[in-house]
């Protein structure tokens, strides 16, 4: 952090710096605090939320319940779907034919959107991106990782997918078609990764431990049982 960064000149507030000592050298906190709202949309959200609570349209508890509901969704849900598809070929066929109905068998729902499950094979590797915003199968995988929403990932994934994959440690031979899936509209895509070799005797529960979030986005492949053992 430079001295200029630390200086609060011109930031429009006037409290004195009280560091418990008074020498003026530069040492900010090791990690900056979460920043105060400053953007128009942040003020809009706060104003709208407070007004809706004040007018008893919604309660703070209901907002918190919704946040906890979303925080409760996680890639382990998707891993259960993938493991079942690996374990049960009939389920896999149903899942690929109709993603919503398939995950419904596990009690999962993707309301209002068409869930499309894309099977990776030794010849075809799907990799999901949303170049327009951050479309992601949230009901199945939870909230997307920050990098998924970054301009860097969104712009590079469609143009230099092999370079992006390499940075994720995923090196695929040129004989595999990398099919970058730009999630631009009403479908949500979930990648069914290739089942790792050496797992033919594994149970569904064991298989689920090999399924990572990134393998269901397609930036990685599933974990190898050899590396785990």
């Amino acid at each position: 952090m430079t001295h200029d960064d630390h200086s609060h000149d011109g930031h429009g507030h006037d409290h004195a710096h009280e560091h418990g000592h008074d020498h003026p050298h530069d040492h900010g906190p090791f990690q900056p605090d979460i920043k105060e709202p400053s953007e128009d949309w942040e003020f809009l959200e706060i104003a709208l939320r407070e007004l809706m609570i004040e007018k008893e349209i919604i309660t703070a508890r209901e907002i918190q319940d919704k946040i906890e509901e979303w925080d409760g969704k996680c890639p382990e849900m998707g891993a259960r779907v993938v493991a079942k598809a690996w374990f049960d070929p009939d389920f896999k066929a149903r899942l690929l034919a109709d993603g919503n109905a398939g995950v419904g068998e596990l009690g999962l729902e993707v309301p209002g959107l068409k869930l499309v499950v894309l099977e990776n094979t030794p010849k075809l590797h799907h990799m999901i991106v949303c170049t327009l915003c951050s479309c992601y199968p949230r009901p199945i995988l939870g909230l997307p990782p920050l990098w998924y929403k970054s301009r860097e990932y969104r712009s590079r994934a469609v143009r230099e997918p092999r370079a992006v994959l390499a940075e994720f440690g995923t090196d695929l031979p040129d004989t595999v078609e990398v099919r970058v899936v730009d999630s631009t509209a009403d479908c949500r895509f979930l990648v069914l990764p290739v089942r790792p070799e050496g797992t033919s005797t594994w149970s569904e529960e064991q298989l689920a431990t090999l399924v990572t979030r990134d393998s269901m986005i397609g930036t990685s492949i599933a974990k190898s049982p050899i590396r785990i053992a």
């Binding site: 499309v116 469609v158 143009r159 730009d182 509209a185």
Partner: protein
């Protein structure tokens, strides 16, 4: 409503550049692709974004493009790599210069 295109049809994405909420990525406009799948009719997002009902509904297609068609060789991809995107019917024109690949 009936879909204008079927799987395997060659299409060109319109080069239009309208203001407002559009779901057709700029980098695919004017590019030649092939219909991989049809996802059925959906309310038009270009209207939904402004609080309108989105009628008439528009058929949503999964369109596949060769990386070379999109980037002309300047990118980190292999020869057979592709990009697919969901494109609404009113953004697609038949590619009469190419035969259907179905």
């Amino acid at each position: 409503m009936s879909a204008r295109f079927k799987t395997g049809d060659c299409v060109i994405v319109r080069t239009d550049n309208p203001a407002g909420h559009v779901r057709t990525p700029t980098y695919l406009r004017g590019k030649r692709g092939v219909i991989l799948r049809e996802f059925g009719p959906w309310p038009n997002p270009e209207q939904l974004a402004y609080g309108k009902p989105g009628w008439p509904r528009k058929t949503n297609y999964w369109v596949q493009f060769a990386m070379d068609e999109v980037w002309g060789g300047s990118g980190a991809y292999a020869k057979g790599d592709t990009v697919v995107a969901e494109i609404y019917e009113h953004w697609l024109e038949p590619d009469t210069a190419r035969r259907s690949e179905s």
